[in-house]
C-alpha cells in the first residue's frame, strides 16, 4: 500500500471515529437538555391544569388525561407511543404523570407532548457530521497529494536511481538533495553506505582477480614440469601418480580460469561488443559437438532461425559452449536434446532426472549434482553472469522430465 493511501486511510478512520463520538455526544446532550426543558414545560402545564381544576373549570384538552385517584404518588416522566391517524404510524411522545391534591380530591394528571421530530434531528446531525467527515478526508487527501508532489519528490527520484544502480557499476551514485531533514539524512546515509559496500565489493573482486592471476604462473610451471615428466618413460605406478596429478591440475586450472572470468565479468567493460549473428555462432558450436552427439546416440532436435544481437562474441561463445556442454553432460545415452533459436529467445532443453538440489541453487557457484560427472560447478554461474552483462533474462524450468533453459534477449 502506498504511503499516501495509508496515511489517508488512517486520517479518514480517525476523523470518522471522532465525528461519530462527537456526533453521538452532541445528540445525547441535546436530547438531555431538551428533555429537561420539556419536562419543565409539562410540569408547568400540570400546575396550570390543577389551578384550573381548583377554580372549578372542566378540563377537556387534547393530550391531557385526568383521573381521580386515592393516593399521592411521585411524578413520573416517561416516553410513550401514540398512534397518529393522520400519518398512520405510532409516534414517540413524552408523558408526565403527576398526582395533585385539589381541595379534597386527588387527581392523577397526565400530560403528553410530541417528540418534536427527534428522528429528523438525529438525521440532520448525522448528515452534517458525515459531510464534515468526507470534506475533512478529501481536503486531507488533496493536501497530502500536494505535499507528496513537492516534498516526496526527491525521495521518489532517489528511489528510482537506487533501483537502477548496481554495486558492480563503476558509475558514482548521484542522489537528489531535499530541504526535508529526514530525506537529507537518508541521502547522506545511503551515499555513505553504498560507498562502503562498493569498496568492499571492489576489494573482494580485486582479491579474486589477483589471487586467480597469481595462481596462473605456478599452475603454468607445474603443468610444464608434469607435461615434461610425461615425456619420459615411467613405470606403471609413476604413470598412475602422474596421471592423477595432471587431472587434478587440469581441474585447478579450469576452476581458476573460470573464477578469473567471473571476476572480470563483474568488473570489466567488454570492448568487443558488436552486432553478431547468433544463428551462425550457434551453428558453429553445434558442429563442434557433432561427433559427441553421434557417439552418445543423442536424439538431437535443432531449430534455428536467423537472430542478430549486439553482444560480445567472446562471451556469447562461452555462454553457448557452456550451455551445450551442460546439456550434454546431464543427458544419458540416447536421451533427447533440443536447441531452439528465434529472434528473441534461445532455448536449451534435455531429458533427465530432476535436480538433486534446490532450483534456486542452480546458478550458484560450485553447486553441482553427481560428483562422478564432475564438472567444476561454475559453468552456469558464468552463463548467468554473461546474461547479466548483456541484460538478458535466463530462466530454468523442469517439467515432465525435461530440463529447460530459456534466454531472452
Amino acid at each position: 500500500m502506498k504511503l499516501l493511501t495509508k496515511t489517508s486511510l488512517h486520517y479518514l478512520c480517525a476523523s470518522l471515529a471522532l465525528l461519530t463520538i462527537f456526533g453521538g455526544l452532541l445528540f445525547y446532550l441535546l436530547k438531555k437538555d431538551i428533555s429537561a426543558e420539556i419536562q419543565e414545560q409539562l410540569e408547568l402545564q400540570v400546575d396550570m391544569i390543577s389551578a384550573e381544576i381548583r377554580q372549578g373549570a372542566t378540563i377537556h384538552y387534547p393530550l391531557v388525561d385526568i383521573v381521580k385517584t386515592s393516593k399521592i404518588s411521585p411524578a413520573r416522566f416517561r416516553d410513550t407511543l401514540i398512534y397518529d391517524h393522520y400519518q398512520q404510524l405510532t409516534e414517540g411522545y413524552y408523558a408526565l404523570t403527576e398526582t395533585k391534591q385539589v381541595k379534597d380530591e386527588i387527581y392523577s394528571i397526565t400530560v403528553l407532548t410530541a417528540y418534536i421530530g427527534w428522528d429528523e434531528y438525529s438525521k440532520t446531525i448525522s448528515y452534517i457530521f458525515l459531510g464534515l467527515g468526507v470534506l475533512l478526508a478529501a481536503s486531507g487527501l488533496v493536501v497530502n497529494l500536494l505535499i507528496s508532489r513537492k516534498i516526496w519528490r526527491p525521495f521518489l527520484m532517489n528511489l528510482a536511481v537506487l533501483k537502477k544502480h548496481a554495486l558492480s557499476s563503476k558509475e558514482e551514485l548521484v542522489l537528489t538533495g531535499s530541504d526535508t531533514d529526514e530525506f537529507e539524512d537518508l541521502k547522506t546515509v545511503l551515499l555513505d553506505f553504498t560507498l562502503r559496500a562498493k569498496k568492499e565489493y571492489l576489494g573482494l573482486q580485486e582479491f579474486t582477480e589477483n589471487s586467480s592471476h597469481e595462481l596462473q604462473t605456478p599452475i603454468s610451471i607445474i603443468r610444464a614440469r608434469l607435461e615434461n615428466l610425461g615425456q619420459t618413460t615411467l613405470n606403471e605406478q609413476s604413470a598412475r601418480y602422474l596421471k592423477d596429478a595432471r587431472e587434478a591440475l587440469e581441474r585447478l586450472s579450469k576452476v581458476n580460469k573460470s573464477l578469473l572470468l567471473l571476476a572480470k565479468l563483474s568488473g570489466e567493460h567488454f570492448p568487443d561488443v558488436q552486432a553478431i549473428s547468433l544463428s551462425v555462432l550457434l551453428t558453429e558450436q553445434l558442429q563442434q559437438l557433432e561427433e559427441l552427439y553421434e557417439s552418445r546416440k543423442i536424439d538431437l532436435k535443432i531449430h534455428i532461425e536467423p537472430c542478430f544481437i549486439r553482444a560480445s562474441p567472446h562471451l556469447v561463445d562461452i555462454m553457448l559452449s557452456n550451455m551445450l556442454a551442460n546439456q550434454l553432460k546431464h543427458s544419458a545415452v540416447g536421451a533427447a536434446i533440443s536447441v531452439k533459436l528465434n529472434d528473441s529467445l534461445i532455448e536449451f532443453s534435455n531429458e533427465g532426472e530432476p535436480l538433486p538440489f534446490a532450483e534456486s541453487d542452480l546458478f550458484t557457484r560450485f553447486v553441482k549434482g553427481d560428483q562422478g560427472k564432475a564438472g567444476i560447478g561454475l559453468g552456469l554461474s558464468i552463463v548467468k553472469k554473461i546474461c547479466l552483462v548483456h541484460h538478458w533474462s535466463i530462466e530454468y524450468t523442469y517439467d515432465k522430465g525435461i530440463h529447460l533453459f530459456q534466454v531472452r534477449f
Binding site: S220, I221, A224, S253, P271, E291
Partner: protein
C-alpha cells in the same frame, strides 16, 4: 627458425627453450624488459614470444619496438591475465597472436608454426611426412597424390600431431587446441578419442602404418618413422 622468448619465470623459459630446441628452433631468451629490449635492437628474430607481465616493465611496450626493428618478425603475446582488453591492445599494437597462461607448449608450437607459415612462407609450402602431403592452403591431405578426405577436426588434429611429432600430447591439450579455451568441457575428452580413432584408421588404411600410439595415462604420440 630463430625465436626469442621473453619470460621472467626461469622454469617456463627452460621448458620452452628445451622443447623448441628439440623441434629444431634456434632459441634465445630474455628474462627482463631491459634484456629483451637489448636483444631486439641487436638481433633479428623470426618470432618473438613476449610475456606481458615483466618485472621491470610491460611487455606491451616491446611490441612496437619489435615491429620497428623488423617488420617480418612474428609476435606472440603471452599473458596470465586473460584480459580481452589486453588482447585487443596487443593485437592493435602489431602482435600476431595472443595466448593465455597456463598454456601447453604444444599449443604454442602449433601457433608458432602457423604464424611462421603465414608470415615467412606465405602459407604455400606443403607439409610432408613419409608419403603424405598436407596442403595448408586447401587444408587437404593426400597420399601418393591421392586425396584422403578428412573432417575439419581430423585435419586440425593431424596438423597438431605433426607439428608436435614424437611428443606425448595429452587429451586436455588436444581438447583445448580443437575446441578452444572454454570451460567445463571434460566431455570433449570422449570426442578427442573418437576423432583420434577415426584419424588413426584413415592413416592406417592408406599407408598400412600406425602413426598414433597411445601412451598409457599420458596421451598420444605421433611418430612419422
Amino acid at each position: 627458425m630463430k625465436v626469442l622468448f621473453v619470460e621472467d619465470e626461469p622454469v617456463l623459459i627452460e621448458e620452452m627453450v628445451d622443447y623448441f630446441s628439440t623441434q629444431g628452433y634456434l632459441c634465445e631468451s630474455a628474462s627482463t624488459y631491459a634484456r629483451a629490449e637489448e636483444k631486439i635492437e641487436t638481433y633479428n628474430y623470426d618470432i618473438v614470444i613476449i610475456d606481458i607481465g615483466l618485472p621491470d616493465g610491460s611487455g606491451m611496450n616491446l611490441i612496437p619496438r619489435v615491429s620497428r626493428s623488423s617488420e617480418e618478425t612474428g609476435i606472440v603475446i603471452v599473458s596470465a591475465k586473460n584480459s580481452l582488453t589486453d588482447k585487443l591492445e596487443g593485437l592493435n599494437l602489431g602482435a600476431d597472436d595472443y595466448l593465455t597462461k597456463p598454456f601447453y607448449v604444444e599449443e604454442l608450437n602449433a601457433r608458432l608454426h602457423a604464424l611462421y607459415r603465414r608470415k615467412m612462407l606465405k602459407g604455400n609450402r606443403h607439409i610432408i611426412f613419409d608419403d603424405f602431403v598436407i596442403d595448408p592452403l586447401s587444408k587437404t591431405l593426400s597420399f601418393k597424390n591421392k586425396e584422403i578426405s578428412l573432417t575439419k577436426k581430423e585435419y586440425q588434429l593431424l596438423l597438431y600431431f605433426i607439428v608436435n611429432k614424437e611428443r606425448v600430447v595429452s587429451k586436455p591439450s588436444i581438447a583445448e587446441h580443437i575446441w578452444g579455451d572454454y570451460f567445463d568441457q571434460s566431455d570433449n575428452f570422449d570426442a578427442v578419442y573418437v576423432h583420434l580413432m577415426n584419424l588413426r584408421k584413415k592413416l592406417n588404411q592408406t599407408s598400412g602404418k600406425d602413426y598414433i600410439k597411445t601412451v598409457y595415462g599420458m596421451g598420444y604420440r605421433f611418430s612419422a618413422a
